[in-house]
Amino acid sequence: MAEIYGDLASPQSKITPKWEDLTSRLLDFDDDLSGLGLRSSLYNYQRRSVNAMLQRELDLSPIPDPLFIELSCMHNHSFYLQPGTMEILKDRPIVDTARSGILCEELGGLFQSKPKEYHDHFGLPFQEREKQ
């Protein structure tokens, strides 16, 4: 399981409709976020995480059921499989979203063991940027 989870990509952090002013600033890594009342400078990955959490709380529009995976048939038409129940559908169900969730992040370990790769991937905190 650890290997499978290790290969997973992070959730997509998107601009939230009706909250573009805030969420687009979080995802614009050239924006220093002044005026938002933040006490700490955020790493880029933390900005994405904050935005994902805001998105989770603010955007309650229905979404395609994430329990179904999309597959293609021999004629390149999509169909959907729920691997837990093996239910097969031609049309993917739409479900309501819900607020709240769990934040899963590996804190610190990558920074200590691979500082260069960490900086290349996640970017430097703003204070360090200013020193450069």
Binding site: I4, A9, I63, P66, I69, L71, M74, I88, K90, D91
Partner: protein, 179 residues
């Protein structure tokens, strides 16, 4: 009328005396199912020939039945029993055509739970049916190939199943995107 060049037809079919085509147009027509891919099975050379059913399905291949093949496979291990269960309870539909070297191509069609014009019957199946189906489909789906040549009853170098590559990772990604 059965096709004179169908490799699965007996002499009587090929001669046009017995063979007939299945022309079903209701909701359970193959055209309404999901053409998932192909499975190649190896036949036992020690066993007698498989009887011809004299019947072509909508796709021009013969209608598969586990009972027909049960005593004729090189490796069976419950395969025919599981296929018959899935076919009988309308989870899949299967057609076949004989290949060369004692093998047969099986076209696997998945029957979606949201099949139109069946009054939702496939969505409300008894749990006693659905429970074993999960295991049987779990065995079947990863073995299905989406190779075009196999679908057309032709051999090609690749025998690797392709319908569900890395299914667990794909599935977890899908759920994590949601979370």
């Amino acid at each position: 009328m059965a096709s004179p060049c169908c490799p699965s037809c007996c002499l009587a079919c090929s001669g046009g005396r017995l063979g007939k085509d299945k022309t079903y147009t209701g909701p359970y027509s193959l055209n309404n199912f999901i053409s998932a891919g192909t499975l190649i099975i190896q036949l036992d050379p020690e066993r007698p020939e498989i009887e011809c059913g004299h019947l072509h399905a909508d796709d021009g291949w013969h209608v598969f039945s586990g009972k027909l093949f049960d005593q004729h496979l090189l490796v069976n291990e419950g395969f025919c029993r599981e296929m018959d269960f899935l076919i009988t309870h309308r989870f899949i539909s299967v057609t076949y055509r004989f290949g060369c070297s004692l093998s047969a191509f099986l076209r696997i069609y998945l029957i979606p739970y949201d099949l139109p014009n069946v009054q939702g019957k496939l969505r409300i199946r008894n749990e006693a049916l659905v429970a074993p189906t999960r295991g049987f489909l779990n065995n079947l789906l990863p073995t299905i190939s989406q190779n075009e040549d196999h679908w057309n009853g032709l051999y090609s170098p690749s025998f690797l199943p392709t319908l569900l590559p890395g299914m667990k990772v794909i599935y977890l990604n899908s759920v994590v995107d949601f979370l």
